[in-house]
Symmetry: C2
Amino acid sequence: MTITPLLARRTRNMGASAIREILKVASRPGMISLAGGIPAPESFPMHIMRDVIDSVIEKYGPNAFQYDLTEGFLPLREALAAYLADKGVAAAPEQVLIASGSQGALDGLGKILISPGDHVALEAPTYLGALQAFTPYEPQYVQIETDHRGMLPDALENALERHPVKFVYLVPNFQNPTGRTLPLKRRRAIAEIIQRFDTLLVEDDPYGDLRYRGTPLPPIKSMAPDHVVYISTLSKVFAPGLRMGFSLAPDRVRRWLVLAKQGVDLHTSTFNQALAAEYLAGGHLKRHLPHIVDLYRPRQQAMLDAMARFFPDAFTWSVPDGGMFVWAEGPEGMDMEAVNRKALERNTAFVPGTFFFARPGDGRETLRLNYTMADEATLSRAIELLGEVLSDALSQKQIYKRMG
Amino acid sequence: MTITPLLARRTRNMGASAIREILKVASRPGMISLAGGIPAPESFPMHIMRDVIDSVIEKYGPNAFQYDLTEGFLPLREALAAYLADKGVAAAPEQVLIASGSQGALDGLGKILISPGDHVALEAPTYLGALQAFTPYEPQYVQIETDHRGMLPDALENALERHPVKFVYLVPNFQNPTGRTLPLKRRRAIAEIIQRFDTLLVEDDPYGDLRYRGTPLPPIKSMAPDHVVYISTLSKVFAPGLRMGFSLAPDRVRRWLVLAKQGVDLHTSTFNQALAAEYLAGGHLKRHLPHIVDLYRPRQQAMLDAMARFFPDAFTWSVPDGGMFVWAEGPEGMDMEAVNRKALERNTAFVPGTFFFARPGDGRETLRLNYTMADEATLSRAIELLGEVLSDALSQKQIYKRMG
C-alpha cells in the first residue's frame, strides 16, 4: 500500500517541519540550546505539587478521574473566570472553555472557521504553533506588517480592506518569536478596526503573566469582547506537561468550538483540570508567579548583556519586558539557516527566524533566542560563541559580496 | 457579527447532537440512566492512585510536568508495547503513538485521510464517537451490513468492489453499541479482504479487556499488520478522565498522524502518560482488571435476567461476553425516540439506537442499554419499568396498526 493516494488533500500541507529537526539536534547531550521555547523545569511548583494533588483527591475523589463535560471542569472554569477578572476581562465561568493546551484552542478555531482558501491575517513573524494549527485547514495567509512594537494598525486596516479575512491572529504580550508587546494605543486602534470591519480577532496570550518590569496592559478582549477570542494557557505559569489551555470566545463562536472539541478529544483531562483549579483557587499561582519571574529576569539580562558585548555591530535585537525570547536581526542577505548549521557544529543551537513567517523565504536574516532553559553563565558563554559564529558568517558574506 | 458566514463548510456538519441532550436529561437527579457509556467510578483503582502518583513524582520529578515528544512518553510506549505483545500484536515502543483518548486517534485518522467526499466504510450500527470524529472532514459513509456476530465479510467485500474506500472502521470486541464480538473466522476473512483490496482497516478496541467469559480473540492487527491501524484506550481499565488513548499504525500512516497531532495538541499530558506507564509497568492493571470484570459481570447478568422477565416477547437482544452494553431490537415500525421520551417521564433513560447509524432514520426500532453505572437492584427495577413502557408503546402501536 502506498500512502500518497490515501492522504487527504489537507495532509500534503503538513510537511515535515525543519524546526523539528533543529530541536531534535538541539536536544543532543552537550548542546547548549537557545532553540527551544520551553519553561525551565525549576520554574514548576514542585514543592506544592503533592499538596495540590492531595487536595484534588480529597475534594473530588473518583470524579477527578471520570469523564467530564466537553466544555471543561466547572471548578477550573470558575477559577479562570476570577483569573480573567483580574486582567480586566469579564467572563462567566460558563463562557470559559477548556482546551488541551492553547494548541487545542487554535486547532478548534482553525477547524470551525477555515474553509480551504479562506484568508487568515497574522503578524509577520508569528507563532509557529498557530501556523501548524491553521495550515491543515488550507487557509491563505495575509501577513500584516509589524515593527518593534508589534502589529501596525494601518497595515491591518489596509489588509482588511483588500481581503475578506475570516480572522486576525496575534500575540499581544512578549510575542513568540519577537518578545514584542503591543502598546495600549495600538490595542485600542486594533479593537476599533476589528469592530468597524466586524471581523474576529484571536488574541493569544500565553506570556502575559511573565512580566519582568512595567505595568500590565489590558487585553484587546476587554475592549472588544464581542469580536475577540481570548486564548491562554497555564503552561508558562504552572506546568506545560499538563496541557492546560483555555479560551474565552463570543458565545456564538464558543458553541461551535464545543462541538468541534467533542470530535477531537471529548474533553481535556479531568484530573489535570482539577489540579489547575486547585493551583489557581488555592492561591498558589499568585504566590508562585514572582518566583518564576525572578528566575527568568536575570537570565534575560545575562543574554542581553552578552549580546551587547559579543554580537556584531550589524545586529539589532528586541529588549522585551517579559516572556521567554529575544529576537535578533542581522543585515539583509544573511542566511541564518546556514549560520545555525555552523553554530550546531560548535554545540550551540538557536532557531532561524524564517520559520516564523507564513510566507516562505521571509526573515532569512533573523533569529530567535530563548533564555529560559539555561543559567546566566551558560547563556553568556553561548552568546559569546554565537557572536563568533555570526562574526565569521558576516565576514564571509562580505567576502562573498566583494567577489560577486 | 453573524456567525454563519464565518464558519467553515465542514462546521455545518457538526449539528448539535440529539444524544447530547438525552444524556443531559439522563443525568438529572433521581433519574436511573441506562443511557451513558461511562465506567463505574468504583471501577477506578483509587486505592493505588496515590502510590502510582508518588512513584511517578519520585521517578520522573519535574520531567513528568514538562513538554514531551508528540509521539508520546517513552516509558508508556514501552509499557504499551509489552501490553500489545500479550494480545499477540508485535510492536516496537517507537511504533506506539499516544493519543488524547482514542477520540484523539480517530480525529487524527480523519484529519490525515479524509478529503471531502471520500468514502469511509463502517458497521451499521457503529460507535458514535467515530462518526463525530470523522464527520467534520466530510466523508461519505458506506454502511456495511452486520448480523448478531458483527460485520459480514461478504458485505465488506461487496462494498469495497463498489466504492473507492479510504478506510474501514470497526470495533471487534463487545462493540459499542451492540456488545457484539467478531468471531475468529470473520477476523481472518476481513484480514484477507483488506489485504487483497490493499485497503486500510481501523480496528478500535476499547472494550477487549472487559471479557466476562470465553477466550480472548486475536486482534485483526495481528493478522494484517501492514493494513491495520489498531486503536485502544485505558479509559475502561484505568480511568477515562485521564484521556489516555493510543494507536499502532503502519509506519507510513503513523508519521502523518504525528504531524497532525502536533497541530492539534502538541502532545498528550506528560503527567497522565507517566501515571499510565506506572499503572501498566507496575503490574497494577493485571492485578486490578479482574476486579473490574467482577464488578460488571453480575450487573450485566442482572440486566439480562430482568430483560428476560420484563421485556415484551416481540423484543430480541444481544447477550455479550463482555463490555458495557446490551443492544435490543423491537418490532419494525417502533420509534424508540418516542419510547425514550415516555421512559424519561418515568425517570428512566436509554439511548435510541438510531443515533448509532451513519444513515439517518435507520435502526429506529433499536435501543442501547448500559449496565456499568448502576447496581444490580437498580438495574432490575429500571428494566422492569422500561419493560412496562415498551409494552405500552407496543400495544399503542398495535392499536394504531389496527386503525390504519
